[in-house]
């Protein structure tokens, strides 16, 4: 069965420190991978996505993610966190295969930023 695991429920980092949010997936086919961010009371915003090609993907707000097929991972990174990055982060996997299937979401990681 398809699944997405975000092992960290809550992470706290200091402003200016680096960040890595983990995401592992279980999928039978080539996955299409996404990271979304949701600020309190706000909708979902796409940070970045991986469809194919270069396994290091650049996104908005200075985020990047690396697809590692051997580890079934798609971890999100940012070299220097800003207080405005405090939010909930969701990893998601999708499969198109001509049928444009739905996304499967991880449970999310809440990021808190210390001044």
């Amino acid at each position: 069965a398809q699944s997405v695991t975000q092992p960290d429920i809550h992470i706290t980092v200091s402003e200016g420190a680096s960040l890595e949010l983990r995401c592992n997936y279980s999928y039978g086919a080539t996955p299409y991978l996404f990271w979304y961010v949701q600020s309190p009371g706000q909708g979902l915003q796409l940070l970045l996505k991986y469809f194919s090609g270069d396994t290091l993907v650049q996104g908005i707000k200075g985020f990047e993610a690396e697809f590692k097929r051997s580890q079934s991972s798609f971890n999100l990174r940012k070299p220097s966190v800003h207080w405005s990055d405090a939010a909930e982060y969701f990893c998601a996997v999708g499969y198109y295969g001509g049928s444009q299937g739905n996304l499967i979401f991880g449970k999310g990681t809440k990021l808190s930023v210390k001044p």
Binding site: F34, G41, G43, L44, L46, K49, F90, A92, G94, Y96, Q100, N102, L103, I104, F105, G106, K107, G108
Partner: protein, 112 residues
């Protein structure tokens, strides 16, 4: 990417009543997806709506509780029926538009 207009953005409803949520897409799409996000939780797929056919519901969701309309390729509605406080959630629609998935801004529903 497609743009989705979802409404209402929020509502407070009495238990036992129903609420219909609308999503309008600015382009034609084959599939529309409806998700629920319970407080402090992730997104869970309710159903997939294709134009001209019955929606496909995920385990734990039934048509009588969450009837879906998909009259054309740019519009869909989700009704939350006979509401109880447990239905208090954010409901989102989504489409795949060639360059990825787009989400509506969500409907924050509170049932009292």
């Amino acid at each position: 990417s497609a743009v989705i207009s979802q409404k209402p953005s929020r509502d407070i409803c009495q238990r036992g009543t129903s609420l219909t949520i609308q999503c309008q897409v600015d382009s034609q799409v084959t599939m529309m997806f409806w998700y629920r996000q319970q407080p402090g939780q992730s997104l869970t797929l309710i159903a997939t709506a294709n134009q001209g056919s019955e929606a496909t519901y995920e385990s734990g969701f039934v048509i009588d509780k969450f009837p879906i309309s998909r009259p054309n390729l740019t519009f869909s509605t989700l009704t939350v029926s006979n509401m109880s406080p447990e239905d208090s959630s954010i409901y989102l629609c989504s489409v795949f538009s060639g360059n990825g998935y787009t989400f509506g801004s969500g409907t924050r529903l509170t049932v009292v």
